[in-house]
Symmetry: C2
Subunit: 207 residues, 2 copies
Amino acid sequence: VAARERKGPGRRPAGSGTRETILETARDCFAELGYDRTTLRGIATRAGVDVALVSHYFGGKQQLFAEAAVLPFDPSALVPRLLDGPRDGIGRRLMDFVMDILDDPEARARMTALIRAAAAEDAAAEQVRRRITSQVLMPLASGLGADRPELRAALTGSQIVGLVMARHVVGLHALAGTDRAVLTDAVAPVVQHYLTGDLTRDLDAAR
Amino acid sequence: VAARERKGPGRRPAGSGTRETILETARDCFAELGYDRTTLRGIATRAGVDVALVSHYFGGKQQLFAEAAVLPFDPSALVPRLLDGPRDGIGRRLMDFVMDILDDPEARARMTALIRAAAAEDAAAEQVRRRITSQVLMPLASGLGADRPELRAALTGSQIVGLVMARHVVGLHALAGTDRAVLTDAVAPVVQHYLTGDLTRDLDAAR
């Protein structure tokens, strides 16, 4: 899974490409500094434009963040792709997708920036709710046809957000250093359980 | 599970209790504002002391945070208590404990403050690694005697941190509004799987 846009080598300091330049710079700043430490002035300086131009195009920091926090995938294409396959393989397909994101440095930077920001700022939390839960996990849970799709989407989101937090933000060595296949084996059944399993069932009873 | 300390109604503006007053004020500020927006000056103003006194007692913001981020439980007492009971009930006992924390407003505020801070700041991430993973989840996983205790502790931590994030920081309605018993039923088997299950096993194969 590649990021949808890459930063070109030649930035355009003014003209029709300025808005996109500011947006790309904002993405870099939010990813590197986090939401709180990123300022419109810092973005403007780094993009080589006047801060008034940043405000002109985007209003305030929250609006700029909302536009900059583009997910490294297209939800409308992702959901049908994930649904295409055996129902009891959805946990593994979703985890393979998540690990693809986390293996790609730019895509991972966007995901971790969004999750870091969501911890600090309501506007970013709203982006996570809307873009991850509402646009991906809810349609996925609904498409699988199980009961309580909203709860299933939220539980799935909690495990995925928690995995990104623990592995790439808190930096737990046991997760950062563990082979992708081992992590996928451990977490995919959990995601499957949340999306299609009996949520009242004691998994251990079957052991 | 009650918080270990409660803020008394009468604050002491100076003297031997000043250090504790600053610490309590710092806890309030970190919980309300998050790590980044909390300043030594803000804490000093709110505690009614000179900022130099805050530096005198605690050095910088990172050190103050490390002291203020007291967990709302005592790890050395918690681990034996959780281990006391049937091995196949550890998922439920741990989830009951987590839900107790999240049901207590002050304890929840401390947990969410720590997790918010961990998303923004390496010093806080280190507190999460040390106080939740190393002092609670690692001894728990080791005490249960399964293979790969470090990986199991980290996976368990990812789900618990993710649940707190999704429910109380990102604010997913489906988690915030769902009955405690339903959430416990859904997540306890996952925690059990991470702590004692076969991490290479496809849970769905047994269905």
